[in-house]
């Protein structure tokens, strides 16, 4: 039988296919129900004008009860945005991806939240502990216990 995540993701995907993604978000790849890729950019005025980032979602079988693992893709073609909550390895410190996750959230909702996180950024800088974190960071950002010192995201 199809797992819970498969059914839910199937619904989300057909919704994306029929109604499209929110503005500035494009589905790049959703060939399976384990890993999806999106491109994300901030529309309108922001510090990230003209920059396009790539987001990776990883789902486990109990999604949406458990949150997806979401991070920016860092490779030869794309970089993580320079942002106080985004580490240079792409990991994101955002409460909705951790303790504030709710199963009523969706992939689109996460994208929009991250988009507004970027849009509202005042200073382009890395988190203070970036170097230390990146050195020891696990592959999966969900394994990290972030301290959400900023409850706006």
């Amino acid at each position: 039988m199809a797992s819970i995540s498969t059914r839910r993701l199937h619904k989300e995907l057909s919704e994306i296919r029929t109604e499209g993604c929110p503005c500035g978000i494009t589905l790049l790849n959703a060939d399976n129900y384990e890993t999806w890729f999106f491109s994300i950019e901030v529309l309108g005025e922001s510090l990230y004008q003209g920059e396009v980032f790539k987001l990776m979602f990883r789902f486990d079988a109990s999604y949406p009860i458990s949150s997806p693992a979401v991070q920016f893709v860092v490779d030869q073609n794309s970089q993580a945005p320079v942002h106080p909550h985004v580490y240079s390895n792409g990991h994101i410190c955002a409460s909705i991806l951790g303790t504030e996750w709710s199963p009523v959230l969706s992939v689109s909702a996460v994208c929009v939240t991250l988009q507004s996180m970027l849009a509202s950024c005042k200073v382009k800088e890395r988190p203070v502990d970036n170097d230390r974190y990146v050195r020891t960071a696990p592959d999966n950002p969900k394994k990290t216990r972030f301290q959400y010192d900023d409850d706006t995201v």
Binding site: S3, I4, R7, I65, S66, S67, S102
Partner: protein, 102 residues
């Protein structure tokens, strides 16, 4: 003329009484699994009494199985997924049913 009805094989749909009386609604969905209330949650095969809804004091409604799965995780902190207030299951009284005329 008098019309005597002897027998009427009628057809009806059942709906959960969610207080939403809109006749032509497409049907609300459970926020967790995104399946309509009158469908069944991903772990069930039969809709209806086998896969009931659960009402919160906060007025939010989910498939019971979906909500219990969520509340079973520590991450839930026993909060309603919609408003993150502590989940309290509502006591449903027959008297609350708007259609009840008795």
């Amino acid at each position: 003329m008098k019309v005597h009805i002897k027998h009427w094989n009628a057809v009806a749909q059942w709906r959960w009484n969610t207080g939403n009386n809109d006749q032509d609604d497409e049907g609300d969905v459970c926020g967790i699994c995104r399946v309509p209330y009158e469908g069944c949650c991903p772990s069930c095969k039969m809709p209806g009494d086998d896969c009931p809804l659960i009402w919160g004091e906060c007025s939010h409604i989910f498939h019971m199985h979906c909500l219990l799965k969520w509340l079973g995780t520590t991450a839930s902190k026993q909060q309603c997924p919609m408003d993150r207030r502590p989940w309290v299951t509502a006591e449903r009284k027959v008297a609350d049913i708007p259609n009840n005329l008795s």
